[in-house]
């Protein structure tokens, strides 16, 4: 049977269609013009034109994380590809499935320092899960399908497909997507049954257990979050989540002890430190979680479930490491647990929960909202209260810094995929384009991009995109006139010498909104907060809400760098004479 002949650009579009892609975020240029021409001549795939390629990748990340689908990016060669690098690295660190198509100069010019040429596969090799340079039209369809398979399966991640212009214009055959599986790449989905039995035996003996779950649960899909919730409730164990895991278990559940790590709750960190069994589910013992490694949960046995074998025993040695998809492994674990009619030792459970509740009583997230100066935590608390009453889907994105931590601490996430933040790489400028990507995927939802004024300005060119596509994104700026987290560290670690962390000549964000044709709001007093939030939510279109908050407020509680979980600072008055050790000073 003769297969259909088509151009490379048509093959690319057909492959995207067969991979159920409906939206692509991109920016045209010389080396991708044939693909843009093919886009022009079809209606199946909608192209969202960003204002800078970095915005395209973050938008695709937002799209991917809020839908569970692969986010797709299309950029040109050279600067188009290099601008995408930060977003690709971000997606790699947070395991977000992205396929990024980059244009390339024609094959005969590769290596010639041609106009807008860059060694894209060379540059992106360390910041992608895998990448391809398609040199022959014969390989194009197979590589396109393989790229999607690699991006979405196993531990998800970004994949780059570099496409020389002559390959886009050459004529070749299309292959169906079943042809795109690769023999060398077969991630393990089911966990080893004997290890699962060992784990259940270990869990049965636990007196002070804790479940510590992370972004892997979100990546595994909603079924994994359900399995986690069942497991937590069935065992009666306390559950903590990482920054990337928020929403995997409902924050409103009484078994949730809050976020773990540097700015996590006192009870979560103390429970991690004092537990006798830690069950890590799709979490990778990142340095923001563990604090000082040699003092990390010294007396506990550890079970780790992760789809990536290299995550197991990477930073913290574990007693049982189960490789597999956390959703499947949790299901299997539950079956064994239930078939044994296992329950936690009642006496032990009682005394462990009593201990946890005594830590809880410290009320570590409290803040003092007195006077008219707005506390940033108060804004998030009110946002949480107001949005919970709406009965709408609510998605929250953040940039990076203090506002990110306050949002993680004070907004209560009850569902997975509704919280989007740059966790691993910590990319300022992530939140606004990510919010845009979420809104493209969920046009009717309320999408709030919480930002600091400094982060906001890193990708604010995307306001133009938001306006073009009438995306009703709400930009909520907690404006403290400082790079707040930098200022906080300078206060704590560098004698309050605020080197280059204060920003002068900030724009008037209300006028900025006006310039982009959207609504601008401002609050400077506590009494205005509720009204401005209500109005922001009510307006049927994009909004920038500029909320002036206390410039001196710090994020607490805090594990100072180089300290252990049980050495938390609970508030500004809790300063140790020298809160950070010499070893801690070199850490970031």
């Amino acid at each position: 049977m003769a297969r259909e002949q088509m151009t490379g650009a048509q093959i690319i579009l057909k492959a995207l269609g067969d991979q159920d892609v409906t939206e692509v975020f991109g920016y045209p240029g010389g080396a991708v013009l044939p693909i843009y021409d093919a886009i022009f001549q079809q209606n199946r795939i909608r192209h969202v034109l960003v204002r800078q390629e970095g915005g395209a990748v973050h938008a695709a990340e937002g799209y991917a994380r809020s839908t569970g689908k692969v986010g797709v990016v299309l950029v040109t060669s050279g600067p188009g590809a290099t601008n995408a690098v930060t977003g690709l690295t971000d997606a790699l660190m947070d395991s977000i499935p992205i396929v990024c198509l980059t244009g390339q100069v024609p094959t005969h010019l590769i290596g010639n320092d041609a106009f807008q040429e860059a060694d894209t596969t060379g540059i992106t090799r360390p910041c992608t899960k895998h990448n391809y340079l398609v040199k022959d039209i014969k390989d194009l369809a197979r590589i396109m399908h393989e790229a999607f398979d690699v991006a979405r399966s196993g531990r998800p991640g970004p994949v780059v497909v570099d496409l020389p212009k002559d390959v886009q214009m050459a004529v070749g055959e299309y292959l169906a997507k079943e042809m795109g599986k690769r023999k060398t790449y077969q991630p393990q989905i089911k966990g080893d049954p004997s290890l699962i039995r060992d784990a259940v035996a270990m869990i049965k003996k636990a007196k002070r257990p804790i479940i510590y779950a992370g972004g892997g649960v979100i990546n595994s899909g909603p079924a994994a979050s359900l399995a986690l919730s069942r497991f937590v409730r069935d065992t009666g164990f306390p559950c903590t989540l990482t920054l990337m895991g928020l929403g995997a278990f409902p924050a409103s559940d009484k078994q949730f002890v809050g976020m773990v790590g540097m700015h996590g709750t006192y009870e979560a960190n103390m429970a991690m430190h004092d537990c006798d069994l830690m069950i890590a589910v799709g979490a990778r013992f990142d340095d923001r979680i563990t604090g000082r490694l040699d003092a990390f949960s010294p007396g506990s046995k550890k079970i780790q479930i992760d789809i990536d074998p290299s995550s197991i025993n990477k930073n913290v040695p574990v007693d049982i490491g189960i490789v597999g998809d956390v959703g499947h492994v949790l299901e299997d674990l539950m079956k064994v647990w239930r078939s044994n009619k296992s329950t936690m030792d009642e006496k032990a459970a009682k005394s462990w929960w009593k201990q946890i509740n005594s830590w809880r009583a410290s009320d570590c997230m409290k803040f003092d909202q007195s006077g008219q100066v707005i506390k940033p935590q108060y804004v998030i608390e009110r946002l949480n209260t107001q949005t919970k009453k709406l009965g709408r889907e609510v998605y929250i994105t953040t940039e990076v810094g203090q506002h990110q931590m306050w949002t993680a601490q004070h907004f209560k996430f009850d569902k997975p995929n509704h919280w989007l933040t740059s966790g691993g790489l910590g990319t300022m400028g992530y939140g606004l384009p990510a919010a845009m990507g979420v809104q493209v995927a969920h046009p009717k939802a309320l999408v709030v991009g919480v930002a600091g004024e400094a982060s906001f300005m890193m990708n604010m060119q995307e306001l133009s995109t938001i306006q073009q596509y009438r995306l009703p994104v709400k930009c909520l700026i907690l404006n403290n006139f400082y790079m707040g987290m930098v200022r906080q560290w300078q206060e704590l670690l560098h004698g309050s010498r605020y080197s280059e962390s204060y920003m002068e000549s900030l724009p008037d964000f209300v006028k900025l909104a006006d310039a982009f044709g959207m609504a601008g709001l401002r609050a400077t007093k506590v009494s205005e907060v509720d009204d401005i939030l209500a109005e922001m939510i009510k307006i049927d279109g994009p909004v920038i809400a500029d909320v002036h908050v206390d410039p001196k407020e710090n994020v607490f509680p805090m594990i100072p760098s180089g300290a252990a979980h049980n050495e938390m600072l609970l508030g500004p008055d809790d300063k140790a004479p020298s809160p950070v050790s010499e070893d801690g000073m070199v850490l970031v």
Partner: protein, 175 residues
């Protein structure tokens, strides 16, 4: 941490990969990017029809680092299998070196005598120079080079270690 967990050991790791552009760069980039050591690395296509290459890496690290290296290698998409020969049992390791010695008189005779003892052979000769070819494990080659140095050694070219499991087992069986 027990002292055995801090002890750095040398491991010889064989990696079977699809021979495609960039595969060596992925492996080397993994080692440099994550700060692992490479003491030696050899690579060549071993099954032309199937585009299979075999990479042999000699590296050092604590047991936790060695496990990490293997897991990270296994994660690369073009990698078929990773085999830690040091851990998995008896194996043969060989290296080839070409050693150029320049000299006249007694030193020249002495170099030939040592060549004989080490079962090396001269593969090029002029009135004032020899090129010796020697095959063996790395220790033997080190010893040969040390002895040749005072006799006028001017150039060495080494292949790095290639290794294979003893017995009937094969890495290619599983793929």
């Amino acid at each position: 941490m027990k002292s055995s967990e801090k002890q750095e050991n040398t491991h010889t790791i064989a990696v079977l990969v699809d021979n495609e552009p960039g595969v060596l760069a992925r492996v080397v980039g993994l080692f440099s990017g994550r700060g692992y050591n490479i003491e030696s690395l050899t690579v060549a296509e071993t099954r032309r029809g199937r585009h299979l290459s075999r990479i042999t890496i000699v590296t050092t690290g604590t047991p936790m680092i060695i496990e990490q290296i293997k897991a990270q290698l296994g994660r690369l998409i073009p990698v078929h299998s990773v085999s830690d020969l040091t851990q998995e049992g008896p194996h043969v390791e060989r290296e080839l070196a070409l050693v150029k010695v320049v000299g006249k008189g007694d030193g020249r005779v002495e170099s030939l005598r040592i060549c004989d003892i080490f079962r090396a052979r001269a593969v090029d000769s002029t009135e004032e120079s020899f090129v010796f070819e020697i095959v063996g494990n790395s220790g033997k080659i080190d010893a040969f080079i040390d002895l040749m140095r005072p006799l006028g050694l001017v150039d060495v070219s080494r292949t790095g270690v290639v290794a294979i499991m003893r017995g009937p087992g094969s890495m290619e069986n599983d793929i």
